[in-house]
Amino acid sequence: MATEFVMPKLGLTMEEGTILRWLVDEGDDVAVGTPVLSIETDKVESDVESGVAGRLHRLGEEGQTFRCGETIAVLLAPGEVAPAVAAAAPAAVDRSGAATLVASGVSWPSAAPQPTGFNGTRQFVSPNARRLAAERGIDLLRVVGTGPGGRVVAADLDELPVAPTTLVAANAHTVPVTRVASTPPSGQPPVPATAAARMLADLLGVDLAAVEPDPVDGYVTRESVARYVRMRLRADPVQPASAAIAPSLASQTPVRVKRLSGMRGTIAKRMSASLREMAQLTLTMDADMDAVVADRAARGLDGPAPSYTDYVIAAAARALRAHPDLNAQVTPDGIAILPDVHVGMAVAVDGGLLVPVVRHADTLALGAIATTTSRLATAARAGTLGLDDLDGGTFSVTALGMFGVDTFTPVINPPNAAILGVGRLRDDVTVSDGQIVVVKRLTLSLTWDHRVVDGAPAAQFCKAIVEALAHPADLG
């Protein structure tokens, strides 16, 4: 039976050998102990003896290199024929089994790649001070370090004017931040932010927790860090910037906590931003609605009648055409007067509020407005509004009259310049020609941005709406 002749392993560190020359000719007999070939490994030459007898059938050639254990020849028994194809026999032992050294109980923290390449001077802050500053919402830029090399240490934070204890509002998103070994000490999740935002914040000593994140995904971006810094620079440097008063701990154990995320969060952010950024105030004006009531009754005979809100939308749209200064928005360049009138209509939905838009409301007849608002309201409640339906409004109308409200102070829907609140349709008493007359009335509450127009034009605009409502037939 044929025996494989392998490249032998002649030393602990030998991994391969090169055939220098065969010492036995092809087909010749080999006895036990006969030197069969001469090999070279690690610059050392050595003869290799055979451990068995047989007829040599060479497979490897002079000059070829083989790994230890690979077949280089076959020793045939008497009568056997050489196999046609050389059988490759790599070393059987799998040594890779024990290669992975990550054993249980051994911790191998991986070093996270740290941002590098800052230009300019760095503020040196001890890890402890950094952690405490984040917890307390302290802007490290304001802290002068007294440690070696100007390092900010915890004691430097203690000596600042006392800041109100804040709780960083819980974030809905948790970001998989790679850190070396230690977990965030206070148990707060790290602020979700882009890498670029972190680098810029680190360079400027900005606390990411104080920066308003992008409302769409909740991440602090480089732009939001920049915006925050610009805001701070514009603000009085002596006074602390009027940052939002962060929510404090509940005064009792809450029955339930609703997170400020999703639609609720968006509304919260937009409404407070609106009030912060604009100079809003509200005027109220009563509108006589007898004509509208009668007009509505008449239309109702032919089919579904427009709602009172539809009348107001129509009236407001026409008023905007006549008073274009209110169909505007404040941009970095200034007050932009917009050509097209798109009136948004506030619709209450489950857990929130949506403001779908009636496009080109000033060109639509009342009937068309009614159809549109009906479709939008249904879609809003069903959650099937498209982006087009929500985009591009230049003015908003919001009604609380069905709840018994007469007047209120609606908040402008950014980036509009004004919003019209619609109160309750009510019976009221007035004096006409010395007689006490019962009329149908509702109160319009107009909130406008004083940066855009002053009180007089706003009042005139509102008056125009009241006038339009007095002549519903002209609403088409």
Binding site: V6, P8, K9, L10, G11, L12, M14, T41, V44, S46, V48, E49, G51, R67, C68, G69, A91, A92, V93, D94, R95, G97, A98, T100, L101, V102, A103, S104, G105, V106
Partner: protein
């Protein structure tokens, strides 16, 4: 010394077991199937066999880097030995020791040792425990000619004599310390000359003659058991193969003629001739011994190859003993 047939056949069997195991290990190593170092005992079988046959299971031995022979002679299990050489979890040391640290504490084999001479102090400790316990056990330290030059050996030999311990120092003088001839590393020719320096008797025996080795061992062990203290046996022997592995890689440091000369006095074949000549055994019986043991070797190789490698979660196990008291 008159030995029974059983004792003689036992001596023979021990030697054949060692020869077959070592030859198999050597072939596997050359086929790149055994990781790491391997130091083969081929040629020296008479020493381990002769000495271990004079011992009980609870007598202890310490060994050298060339330790397979000692473990086999003391009754080591082929399967577990082969598995250990292949680094498998079924090996004697669960794959964590390998050839150089192979051991069987139940057989009193306190391990092969990778440090030359380091076994002797440990054997002294075992002998100390034997004397302390007064149960009549003895310890044997195996070591080579090279080891007698290292400090640990001197300390052990001296301490054993100073404390009068039940120990036998068994020197396997194969005339080479690794790749250097013994004659270049010491000024004396016979290791036995050192024994008197420590205050113990010493004898030289022909390490290729298992009966001579056994006779000397029986005497030395009895002496120790009687409480008469240490003694040294210097067995002149020879290893056929390289310091490690089988064939030599690199410069030839031993003349072929020398190797051939020693092979003429092969401990197994010469003993077999004597057995047959004296009518103690027959060629057939001897061949059967070989055949049966060859089968055992094949079974062991298969067992080892089929055995699993240790899992990585065993890496940190057995660094320490957990307290149970």
């Amino acid at each position: 010394m008159e030995l029974t047939r059983d004792v003689q056949m036992d001596l023979h069997r021990r030697m054949v077991r060692i020869r077959l195991f070592e030859e198999a290990a050597g072939r596997l190593a050359e086929a790149a199937k055994l990781p790491g170092f391997l130091h083969l005992y081929v040629g020296e079988e008479a020493v381990a066999s002769g000495v271990c046959a004079a011992l009980n299971d609870d007598d202890q031995i310490t060994s050298t880097h060339r330790g397979h022979g000692h473990l086999v002679a003391k009754g080591g299990d082929f399967n577990r030995m082969m598995a250990e050489l292949m680094g498998k979890s079924t090996g004697y040391c669960k794959g964590k020791g390998g050839s150089m640290h192979i051991s069987d504490l139940e057989l009193g084999m306190l391990g092969a040792n990778g440090i030359v001479g380091a076994g002797s102090p440990i054997a002294v400790g075992a002998a100390f425990a034997d004397k302390y316990r007064k149960r009549g056990q003895v310890a044997v330290a195996f070591f080579g000619d090279g080891a007698t030059n290292i400090g640990a050996f001197h300390e052990a030999a001296n301490m054993a004599c100073a404390l009068h311990l039940p120990i036998v120092f068994a020197c396997e003088n194969n005339e080479y310390g690794e790749f250097t001839a013994r004659s270049k590393t010491m000024a004396i020719t016979d290791i036995v000359d050192r024994a008197a320096g420590y205050g113990m008797p010493g004898v030289i025996v022909d390490g290729m003659d298992v009966l001579a080795v056994h006779e000397a061992a029986v005497e030395a062990v009895a002496r120790a058991r009687r409480g008469e203290g240490p003694s040294l046996i210097e067995a002149k022997t020879y290893r056929y193969y390289n310091h490690h592995g089988v064939q030599n890689l690199g410069l030839k440091y031993r003349p072929d003629a020398e190797v051939e000369q020693w092979k003429q006095r092969d401990p197994i074949f010469t003993f077999e001739e004597r057995l047959i000549e004296a009518g103690t055994s027959t060629a057939d019986e001897i061949e059967q011994v070989w055949a049966a043991l060859r089968d055992d070797i094949a079974v062991a190789i298969q067992f080892a190859e089929d055995s699993p490698l240790p899992h990585v979660d065993q890496l940190l196990v057995d660094v320490y003993t957990q307290r149970t008291h």
